[in-house]
Symmetry: C2
Subunit: 285 residues, 2 copies
């Protein structure tokens, strides 16, 4: 069984880019070719995402489906989500299920079963507000099969600071969370030297990103907010270690929706957007 951090390192090194493609399907932004053919929104999401996976699989090592958009379709959405993750795995892509789960004890175990067994994702994003006994059951489950978790530390949204930046003992709350993330990660280190507990850190906060890269040298950072949310390649470059590892940089809308719904060459546009995002990240290092 390969350690999660080693699998991540392999995924990033194998494709030569830390870029992660986010799968956040929105019906009104789908290519008309797809949305017009499906009565069922979930089926349209599945087709779109499967086709995106085929396009990006040669170019990136990691993808991140956003659970919420599938959930919005009800039960059929979960059928689609499962298909998308299955196909990603067939294509040897590492999958991060972005669901920001967090609950206690046996409930956390059920979320772990959902993420790692029922939907078979390689990693899950986790909300730390409930504290250690909400994170540890997920981590324990992840470790049974070389999976990992990414804990929200400092998120990319404008209101993130409302609670995350409250100052406690001279440091913001998110530093306390970062410290816990580092401690959890040290419990189980891969041969690459990194732990299996990552940190979600928004690309829209360049200063915090530099600070957390330094504070968490052996923690993989998952950086959302690159592209459409406003984080630039220069901003996120600070998250990537000199060895080219240690960070996964996510772009969702910037890659999967560079198009107008009527565009017939949408697959080429997605390929182009992926290559450009990847090149922009390389040129900044």
């Amino acid at each position: 069984m390969t350690h999660f951090a080693d699998r991540l390192a392999e995924a990033v090194r194998g494709k030569g880019t830390p870029l992660c493609v986010g799968l956040d399907p929105r019906f009104e932004m789908l290519p008309a070719e797809i949305s017009e053919r499906h009565e069922d929104r979930a089926a349209a999401y599945a087709e779109f995402c499967l086709r995106v996976l085929d396009i990006v699989a040669p170019l990136v090592g990691v993808v991140k489906p956003q659970s919420a958009f599938f959930e919005a379709c009800g039960p059929a959405g979960f059928v689609a989500l499962k298909k998308v993750i299955e196909r990603a795995r067939e294509l040897k892509l590492l999958t991060i299920l972005d669901a920001k789960r967090g609950d206690i004890a046996s409930t956390a175990e059920a979320y772990a079963e959902a993420a790692f067994t029922a939907f078979a994702a390689d990693a899950l994003t986790v909300n730390p507000y409930l504290g250690r006994d909400s994170v540890e059951p997920l981590l324990k489950a992840a470790r049974r099969s070389g999976r990992g978790i990414f804990v929200l530390v400092r998120t990319s949204n404008p209101g993130a600071g409302q609670f995350q930046d409250l100052m406690c003992d001279g440091r913001p709350v998110y530093h306390h969370v970062a410290e816990a993330v580092a401690a959890w990660g040290r419990e189980n280190v891969g041969s690459c030297g990194d732990g299996d507990v990552g940190a979600v850190v928004g690309a829209t906060h360049a200063k915090e990103l530099v600070e957390l890269r330094t504070a968490l040298p052996n923690t993989w950072l998952l950086i959302p907010g690159y592209g459409a949310q406003g984080g630039s390649a220069a901003d996120v470059a600070a998250a990537i270690r000199p060895d080219g590892l240690g960070a996964v940089i996510n772009s969702s809308r910037g890659i999967t929706f560079p198009l107008r719904p009527g565009d017939a060459d949408w697959e080429r546009q997605i390929e182009k957007a992926t290559r450009e995002a990847s090149a922009a990240l390389s040129s900044r290092r």
Copy 2:
């Protein structure tokens, strides 16, 4: 359209109890009669929960399905969850979907669509770590149809204090969250005088419960941890206002699993446990 707080007040007043029955199905704890009949775990969960609903509907006004246990079954689990919520609504029970969601902007809107439209719950539990712009889209969606949200303030688990109790400006983090909850609730007050943003406060912290009851006089409190998790009727009585309103007291395992799987009279046992939990709450007021 009736305001969410008025609907809650009606549900509690109508059955004369603040008791809420939590639906946290676990396969190994189901009555043998049900688990032996179903190959499919999700179908067993659906049957069990539907039968529990029929038993408790005359006795309580509110039920709380825990999403995680359904999610653990994969897509079929969501079919079961949808059926359970539908049946609860047919029985005029108010439903709180316990999913502790939290994400930003359009992702939060998708979670709102999932909870209030796809699964048609009356309320959703929400994790506040991402700050105001993760809560407000859920609230905005809830307000379109007389729904509500319950924001995690101080949870019932042993490790809850790791981040929630960090001291910021002389007050723990959870006080800052409570203050935000009160402010959100004041934006939209029902004719009962209460807002449509509730607070989740664990029954296992009696001191915090008293303190938060005082700090949040017009906020509905959702109190998990009564019964199996160790909160006593005396502990939770402090959350109930003199008018008998303002709190929903949840018991899950204590009510739905008072049984050994082989017990043939499990329905009677669940009815008895519900009546006893309800009576214990009344006698403390």
